[in-house]
Symmetry: C2
């Protein structure tokens, strides 16, 4: 806990979260800061994927990370040790973040000197998908042990995401996970989904994901359309 700032974020008072999220994106556009919202189930490897992403991008982009958790700060400590600005958001039991909660976090993180801010959302495939955080892009991780049927059971999160990272491909031999089927099910939910099979532990496949993310940041910073 020593060097991690822990912020208790409060439930939003805004009734219209979509409008609030749009407003937050407008502010981020002016600052030329790209916000990525990273979602997944508990234990799919969000933190390890972030660590690999930070290693590859921290010398090219000015990065900051917000770790949202119901409790504990173990992930924030790991991210902070990787050498990027990190804060821990405690949601006080809340199962998701909305735009105003995200804004509270960004204010504490400080974004004016950042190219890329990443929100690691609460581990949950259901509720985070229902709330626009104000992020420029949404990404999710599905790990091989969770099974290829998840786009059938948790459709909304696959619909709202721009990128799907399929993690833990090193354990494919030990699970009944059909990569073709998961692609088919996920793309049926969302044909524009970019899919990146990776092994965050070894780093396999992470370069392609990081290239996509870098391209998105670059487009956001140069595109003058609001």
């Amino acid at each position: 806990m020593d060097n991690i700032r822990v912020i208790q974020i409060k439930q939003s008072i805004f009734a219209d979260n979509d409008a609030d999220a749009q407003k937050l994106r407008g502010q981020l556009k002016q600052e030329k800061t790209f916000l990525l919202n990273l979602m997944s189930s508990p234990g799919s490897g969000k933190t390890t994927t972030l660590l690999r992403t930070i290693e590859r991008l921290k010398h090219q982009l000015r990065m900051g990370v917000m770790e949202a958790d119901i409790d504990s700060s173990v992930d924030a400590e790991a991210i902070s040790a990787a050498g990027v600005r990190t804060i821990q958001l405690h949601t006080g039991g809340m199962c998701h973040l909305d735009a105003d909660m995200t804004r509270q976090g960004l204010r504490e993180l400080g974004t004016e000197d950042l190219d890329l801010a990443i929100l690691e959302n609460v581990g949950n495939l259901v509720c985070p998908a229902e709330f626009d955080t104000g992020a420029v892009k949404n990404a999710m991780i599905l790990s091989v042990p969770e099974g290829h049927d998840k786009p059938l059971k948790y459709p909304l999160i696959f619909t709202v995401c721009d990128a799907l990272i399929i993690n833990k491909i090193d354990v494919l031999p030990y699970f009944d996970f059909d990569m073709d089927k998961v692609r088919q099910y996920a793309l049926a939910r969302n044909p524009r989904l970019q899919i990146f099979p990776i092994c965050a532990k070894s780093g396999e496949g992470v370069d392609a994901w990081c290239q996509w993310l870098k391209d998105q940041v670059s487009a956001w910073q140069t595109d003058t359309n609001p």
Copy 2:
């Protein structure tokens, strides 16, 4: 979908869910029906664990299963094929079940001739833990690939459960999962938690879990205290 009844359950109108859950338990007590609420993350193996449980108990107990999902009926079809009465509950996007939603499901399932009704809750470690469904006992599954730190990050669900099933022990060699640590962290949250390491795929360890469940049903049916 052929032989599976799909029930759209509606959000509860009751403000005091705890009182409503207590009332539902009283009704189940009169019918001598035991209700188990089974919770976990998406993909931890709830359905496979249920299939193994049904194989072992269906000739000793009259069983029925309610599969709660946001969408799809793939799990209910698998459970129904195992030869027990099964209904599919669609939550219409809701991330959890409360007591009144559970009551709607039980009414459709029909409980008067059942010893054991099992609710497979929505895959989510956060929200289902916050709502008493009226179940006699709560059980959760944590699978090895999710990691041993989950009791630190999702404390409430470990606190409200009576049994913790640790599934996918066959893949222990491929993950950094510390069985001693998970026991230590989980028991720190809840010292009375019963812990059952299993491999639902092979059936290893399932007997001990089923014996515990059978003992709970028996105690519920014979104990005359309300």
